[in-house]
């Protein structure tokens, strides 16, 4: 384990109810014991509501292990009126991320001054089993990278191992582990049913350096994807969020070049493309935390119909079309779709809505929404 990951956390709070869990036993093996404290209640009970920039930054260094009380299994936020949704479900195994991207949506979402890992993953699996038993014919896609990175702390939790084994029993379902890290070694030996997609958020190296702090660099991400491929895991790449900058075409062209030179369209289940977007209220925190030189705080963005700040639709279309054409110029077999976009953008970029595109039709077919 990287020493950086161990030193990253100032303090680890363990809820008494989680003290016997497997993840806590691992934490005791990994971290110096003087950093660990067993608590009877959630630390910092007075710090609630909107966090200040400093509180948010500090929350990344304070780990809290507790049981999750609510539902683990939820529909993706893309399933909203007005957005073209790809029927993605999310399994939240934690809250907050140890990496530090300038545009991260958690800055508008987190209201607790701690990075939380849920200790009761077994209950999450029970929830999944109940849904699977109730709807045996459905083909759910489940991702764990919604409120935390799927793999950046996986060396500590090893949750990927449990999930991959669980999904082996449900081959109709798909598990997607989405990350900006390169931490895959801990699950490569786990047997799977070919239904696990290891997905990487991708950006050109200049954007990673400038906006995606504490994440793996581009070559590390590509190498990790290569390792997964060698163990027959499926891959996905998410060029999301694309960030406009004066040399964006050169940067993204190089990125497509790197992906397509290392992988073939058959290796990647799909490529998604999305452009910078964020909730208007998080701009204050982004400015304070990343300054005025960040490409994100400098961005020319405007409030869209869904309330989020986005580039002008013409800029977005140009970016999406560019990426799509770059991939298609390498091979017509690359499957490129848009993420969190309005149907209008789909029509302008792809000349049709997702359900009209044969290779994406299945992905965007309406799913059961009772979960």
């Amino acid at each position: 384990m990287e020493p950086q990951l161990i030193s990253q956390f100032e303090k680890i709070f363990i809820d008494q109810n989680s003290a016997e869990s497997a993840v806590v036993q691992r934490i005791y093996n990994i971290f110096p014991h003087n950093k660990i404290e067993i608590v009877n209640e959630k630390p910092f009970p007075d710090a609630f509501g909107i966090l200040s920039s400093n509180e948010f930054s500090r929350s990344k260094r304070l780990l809290y292990v507790t049981e999750h009380k609510g539902h683990f299994f939820k529909r993706c936020p893309g399933a909203k009126p007005g957005l073209a949704c790809c029927n993605y479900f999310v399994l939240n195994l934690g809250l907050q991320c140890n990496m530090n991207c300038s545009y991260c949506y958690l800055q508008s979402y987190i209201n607790t001054p701690l990075l939380t890992i849920y200790s009761n993953i077994d209950r999450a699996l029970t929830e999944l089993k109940e849904v699977a038993d109730r709807y045996p014919q459905h083909t759910y896609r489940v991702g764990t990278g919604e409120t935390t990175d799927s793999l950046s702390l996986d060396e500590i939790t090893l949750y990927s191992r449990k999930l991959i084994s669980f999904f082996k029993k449900y081959p109709r379902w798909t598990l997607e582990l989405k990350t900006k890290s390169s931490k895959v070694d801990q699950f490569l030996d786990v047997e799977h049913a070919g239904n696990v997609i290891c997905g990487w958020s991708m950006n050109p190296q200049n954007i990673i350096e400038r906006e995606e702090h504490l994440t793996a660099n581009l070559s590390q991400r590509l190498d990790a994807a290569g390792k997964c491929l060698s163990k027959k895991f499926k891959l996905s790449f998410h060029l999301d969020p694309m960030i406009w900058h004066p040399e964006w075409k050169e940067s993204y062209c190089e990125l497509v070049e790197k992906i397509s030179s290392m992988f073939s369209p058959e290796d990647a289940e799909y490529i998604t493309v999305g452009a910078l977007r964020f909730q208007p209220e998080q701009r204050h925190m982004m400015r304070e935390r990343f300054g005025l030189k960040s490409l994100v705080t400098q961005a020319e963005v405007f409030q869209g119909k869904d309330g989020k700040m986005r580039y002008d639709i013409e800029v977005r279309n140009e970016m999406f079309e560019f990426i799509r054409n770059q991939f298609l110029s390498k091979s017509r077999a690359w499957r490129v779709s848009l993420c969190m976009e309005v149907p209008e953008t789909w029509s302008m970029t792809m000349a049709s809505t997702p359900r009209q595109i044969p290779e994406l039709k299945e992905l965007f077919a309406p799913a059961n929404t009772n979960c």
Partner: protein
């Protein structure tokens, strides 16, 4: 009820915006005058209660600039209690905002009070020192526009001199447009090009067309009034005939 001569009190005049009712006496808490600063009377009612309790009884609502001025005079109060009462969260962020606010021109402070600006509205102040003239110019705007201009102005301060930012500031409407264009140069330039093309397009008579931005989208807004179905048909047909010219608005080459 006890009274005290106002001249014997320490005045905690944090300049509350709402005038103290003239028929009520001035209020002192343990020799600290906290209300009725402008009274012509010589005596104040002297209360022997906790300062913070007296303050919250006298002032049911205080805005951020008023609290900031009070903080400057009395930093040793129980600020967690006061902030809770006035619906703010006492932390280093708020303390920082207090300190920055008291450095801004009184005109800006009063505008921020009148518009009831919150912590987030004022948070751009934390990033850069802005000229007092800039802040005073903002006070001519509504809360919504003023807050946008404050943000853009501070974001622009990274790359532009305050002279450039203040250019055209005498003209309220033009300055807003100017600041927008400076902050969004690519979008503004593109919108201007489209505007020019829309203007030079020979629209049918009695049809108004303009390039309009609505959030993250911009396009041509076409407006006409039809007084009859024949009139509607005539104008619609005239617009259809314009198709090739309209095409050139998006694809001039």
């Amino acid at each position: 009820m006890q009274f005290i001569e106002i001249s014997q009190c320490k005045t905690i005049n944090f300049k509350p915006l709402k005038p103290w009712p003239k028929h009520l006496p001035s209020i002192s808490v343990r020799n600290n005058l906290i209300a009725g600063f402008d009274s012509s009377r010589t005596l104040a009612v002297q209360l022997d209660i906790v300062f913070e309790d007296a303050l919250t009884d006298c002032y049911q609502k205080l805005t951020l600039p008023e609290l900031a001025r009070l903080y400057k005079i009395k930093p040793d109060l129980r600020w967690d209690f006061l902030c809770d009462f006035y619906h703010f969260r006492w932390n280093s962020d708020l303390k920082n905002i207090f300190e920055l606010l008291t450095e801004t021109p009184p005109k800006f402070q009063n505008w921020a009070s009148e518009k009831d600006l919150g912590i987030k509205d004022l948070s751009p102040l934390k990033l850069s020192i802005v000229s007092p003239q800039f802040l005073e110019h903002i006070t001519r705007y509504s809360k919504q526009i003023g807050c946008k201009v404050l943000e853009w102005g501070i974001e622009l301060s990274e790359h532009h001199s305050s002279e450039r930012i203040l250019q055209n500031s005498e003209n309220t409407e033009r300055w807003y447009h100017d600041i927008f264009s400076l902050r969004h140069p690519i979008t503004a330039s593109r919108d201007q090009n489209y505007t020019n093309r829309v203007i030079s397009t020979p629209w049918p008579r009695q049809v108004d067309a303009q390039w309009k931005r609505v959030g993250d989208k911009a396009g041509i807004e076409v407006r006409f009034i039809s007084v009859s179905s024949a009139d509607f048909q005539k104008k619609s047909e005239a617009l259809v005939k314009l198709q090739s010219k309209v095409e050139k608005i998006w694809n001039p080459n």
